[in-house]
Subunit: 336 residues, 3 copies
C-alpha cells in the first residue's frame, strides 16, 4: 500500500545513500553528500565536455534520445526550469513541464499518484523543486528502478546541480583547489546554494572555506564543518581567491537586525572597495537572480572579475552531464 507523504514526518536524505542503486551507481541526484572526489570530477569532466563559448552553438547529442523528462516545480524558478529543459532537449529528450503551483494540493498524499502517472507514461526522469525538505528523497524511495529523481532545489538543504556548476566555474578559473581560499558570503543559514557548494568544495579538497554572514543569518554550529566563520565581511574577504555572494531575500533582511537593503549593502555587500582586500585575481560568483546593489554592487556584477554569466553557461553543461550520467547508469542496470 502506498506510503503517504507527510512533510513533517520525513527526514531528507542527507547521507546520499538513497540516491544509489544496488551496485552503488547514482540513480538519483538528491544531494552532493556522499559523492566521492572521483565521482564529482567525472561529472565535472563530462560537463566541461559540454561547455561551449558564448556565441558558439551549444553542444548537442542524442544521449537521451527516446527518454522523457518531466519538470515538477512546486517552487517556481523559470531560470532553473529553462536550464534543465534546454539541457534535456539538447541531449535529444522530450520534455514536459507540469505547473505544480497551480495544483499545490497535488502535494501530500497524492504526489506519488502524479509520479506514478508520469512513470506509467514513460516519463522516467523527474526534475523536482520544492520549498520544503524531504520530497525528493521520499519519492526516490518509492519509484521503480528505472526512474531517476533530480533535485533542482530543496528547501535550504540541497541544490546539487548548483553546487556542481559552482565547482566547475572555480575549476575553470583555478586549477589547484588545495591552494584556494573560497568565501561564501550572505544568508548562509537559509541557503541551499551554500550547503551544496560546501559539500562539493570540501570533497574536492578546497584549501580553505570561509563563510561570512550577519549573526542571525549564520547557520547552527555543527553545520559547515571545518569552514571558518566570519561575521565581519571585511575580515572575511582578506586574501580570498573566490567570492560567492548569495541572494538575500528582502523578508530575511526585515526579520534580521539589519534595518534595510541599503544598510545590508553597506555592511555586507560585495563592493569594488571591498574587493581590494581579496587576492588580486579574485573571481566573483552569484547564483542569480541578483539583487543588484544589495548583496552585490552592480559594478562588481558587471566587472571583469564576475563569473556570473559563465555560471549560467556551466549550469546547462552540468545538467547535461548529470542527465547523461544517470541515463547511462539506467542502461547499465538494464543490462543486468
Amino acid at each position: 500500500m502506498q506510503t503517504r507523504y507527510t512533510p513533517a514526518g520525513v527526514v531528507s536524505d542527507l547521507s546520499g545513500r538513497i540516491q544509489r542503486d544496488s551496485e552503488g551507481r547514482l540513480q538519483h541526484l538528491i544531494t552532493l553528500e556522499g559523492l566521492s572526489r572521483d565521482e564529482l570530477n567525472a561529472l565535472l569532466d563530462l560537463a566541461q565536455f559540454y561547455v561551449r563559448a558564448v556565441g558558439d552553438l551549444p553542444a548537442r547529442d542524442q544521449s537521451l534520445a527516446g527518454h522523457t523528462v518531466a519538470n515538477l516545480f512546486f517552487e517556481p524558478s523559470t531560470r532553473t526550469r529553462v536550464s534543465f529543459e534546454l539541457a534535456a532537449r539538447r541531449l535529444g529528450a522530450e520534455v514536459v513541464n507540469l505547473d505544480m503551483q497551480s495544483s499545490s494540493r497535488v502535494k501530500g498524499e497524492t504526489v506519488l499518484d502524479t509520479i506514478y502517472t508520469l512513470q506509467a507514461m514513460h516519463a522516467d526522469i523527474l526534475v523536482m523543486r520544492d520549498a520544503e525538505p524531504g520530497l525528493p528523497a521520499f519519492v526516490a524511495r518509492q519509484v521503480a528502478p528505472h526512474v531517476c529523481i533530480l533535485n533542482a532545489g530543496e528547501a535550504h538543504l540541497s541544490h546539487p546541480t548548483q553546487g556542481l556548476l559552482d565547482a566547475l566555474t572555480i575549476r575553470q578559473a583555478r586549477s589547484d583547489f588545495s591552494q584556494l581560499r573560497v568565501l561564501i558570503a550572505g544568508d548562509i543559514a537559509h541557503s541551499r546554494v551554500a550547503r551544496s557548494a560546501w559539500q562539493a568544495l570540501t570533497t574536492l579538497g578546497i584549501g580553505e572555506l570561509r563563510i561570512a554572514a550577519p549573526e542571525d543569518l549564520m547557520p547552527p554550529e555543527g553545520e559547515f564543518a571545518r569552514a571558518v566563520r566570519f561575521s565581519d565581511i571585511d575580515a572575511a574577504i582578506e586574501g580570498v581567491d573566490v567570492i560567492m555572494a548569495l541572494r538575500i531575500q528582502r523578508e530575511r533582511i526585515i526579520h534580521s537586525q539589519i534595518p534595510d537593503e541599503a544598510t545590508y549593502h553597506r555592511t555586507f555587500g560585495i563592493t569594488e572597495e571591498r574587493l581590494r582586500r581579496a587576492h588580486p585575481d579574485v573571481i566573483v560568483m552569484h547564483p542569480g537572480p541578483m539583487n543588484r546593489d544589495v548583496e552585490i554592487a552592480s559594478e562588481v556584477a558587471d566587472g571583469p572579475r564576475s563569473m556570473i554569466q559563465q555560471q549560467v553557461t556551466n549550469g546547462v553543461a552540468v545538467r547535461m552531464a548529470v542527465l547523461a550520467t544517470i541515463v547511462r547508469n539506467v542502461q547499465a542496470r538494464r543490462q543486468f
Copy 2:
C-alpha cells in the same frame, strides 16, 4: 458567413456520423458511438503495437512527421493534456499548447476564429476538452477536410480515448469479452468515462455490463441500454470480472443524499472486503485522478488487482493509435 457557436442551441453529435468523411473513414474522433467492432479492434490492435513495458523506452515512429497538433483545453486536465502531448511528439509531430482557460471568452462566437487561425498555421489536428457539450461536433462541421478534431473530454457525454484505453486494458487481462461481467461503479450520471466505456464495451460484445450508483447519481432510463442497474454496490459486485470505479466529485456528494466522503466510502467505495464478492481474478480500474479512500480504498488502488497504472500507459498508446489512424485517413483523402 460564419456560424456562431451557442452552446445552448447545439446538440452534440451522438450518432457519430459527423466524424466520418465522405468515404466513411474517421476524420475526427468525437464519440465512440457508431464505430463498428472491427474499427474498435483495429484501433486497439494498433494501440497494442505501441504499448511498451514500464521501464522500457516508449514506442516512437514518424507517423505524424510534419504535422502540428494543438491542444485546446477549455477545461483543464494536466494528465490528459500530457498524455496527448507525449503521444503526438512520440509520433514526430510538433505540439502547441493553448491555454484556453485564461481566455475563456474566446469561446462562443469567436472560438471558430481561433480554430481557423490554427488551421491557417497548418495546425491540423486539434485536441479539445470542454466542460460543456457540443463544441467538438460544432467545430468538426466547420473545418476544412484536412483538419481533424479529437475529443479529449466533453461534458458528461464523451471521452472516446478513455473508452478505448479502458477497453484495451480489459482486453489485455481477459481475451474472451463474451464471457465477461463488467461493473462500472460510482457517479454514472455525470460520467463521460462511463458513457464512452459503455459504448466501447457494448460494441465489443461484453457479456454483461452492470452499472451501480447511488440513486441520485443514476443516469436517466433510456441511457446505458441493456446495462443492468444496481443501487446496492455489494449486490452489483457479485461475481464480476472487472470493476471500473469512477471519480466522485466532492460537490456531487454534498448535493446528493450522502452526507460526506466517509459515508460514500462506507456505502459505495471499492474496498478489499467488497472485492471478495467478485470473481477471484477480478481486475480493478479507475480513470484517475483518484480520491483515495473515497471511491476506492488505497489498498485496492495499490494492490495486485489494480490496473490503474496500466491504464495510464495504455492511454498514451491509444492516443498514438488514434493520431496515426486519422492522419493515415487524411493522407488517403489527399490521394483522391
Copy 3:
C-alpha cells in the same frame, strides 16, 4: 557597468540603424524603417518560398538547427507567440517560452539580467513583445554580436513581421504596387500594425496610401507622411484595391467621442454595403483577433474578398524568412 533600462528615458529606434551589424546586414528586426525595397523584397521572396496551401503540410527545413529561440512576451499574445514558435520549430530550432507577465517586475533594470542569462544559455534569438516603447532597441544595444532581437510588437510603434505579412498578402493578390490604392482604416493613432504597414508599403512603392480614422484616433500630423487622411470612411473607401481594417479596443471607443461599439460599426465598420464603393476586386485584411461586427462585419470577414486566414498563413512564412535571414547573417559575421 550595466546600463539601466528606464522606459521614460529611452527613445525607440525609429531609424533602424541599431538593427544592423557593422557590415550593414540585419542583426535584429526592430522596425521596418530603413529597410530598402530590395531588402523587403528579398524577405518577401523567401517568405513566399515557405508558403504552402492550407491543407498541405507546412514547409520545414533545418536552417535553425542547433539554435535556441526564446519568446519573451511582456504583453500577452497567444496568436503571435504560437506563430513565432511554429516558425522557429519548423526551421529546426529549440523554443522556450518565458512567461514574462507573471514576473512583470523583471522589467526595468533587471530585464538585461534575464537577457544575459538567456544569452549565457545559448538562447541567441530573443523574440520580444512589450506594451511600452523602447525595450527592443535598448536590449539590442546591449547584447553580444551573435544575439538577435526580434520585435514581435512594441507599443503603438512597430510590429515589423506584421508589416511584412501584410505586404506579402497584398503582393500575392496584386503584382503591380505602383497602381494600388490601399486604405488602412480604424484606430490609426494607437496602431503599430498601421505604422509597420505604412513603412513597408511606402518603401515598396505603393501607388496611394489612405488612412481613415475617427478624429480623435487620427495620428499626429508629421506621422504617415504622404498618406491621404480621411475622417469619412465612405469617402476613403472609394475605389481602393485593398482595405486593412484595424482592431479597435473597447476602451478606446469609450474614451473617444463614439458612444458605443454599435455606433462605431455604423459609422466606421467595414460592411458589405461600404465595400461596393471600393474597386470590384478589392481585398479585405485584418491583423486579428477581430471584433466581429465592430470594426468589420462578419459577412465581410468570412466573405470571398477576405484575406484574413491567408494573412495568418503568411505570418508563419514571414517569421520563418526573418529567422532564416538573421541566422544566415549571424553565420556570415562568424566567418569574418
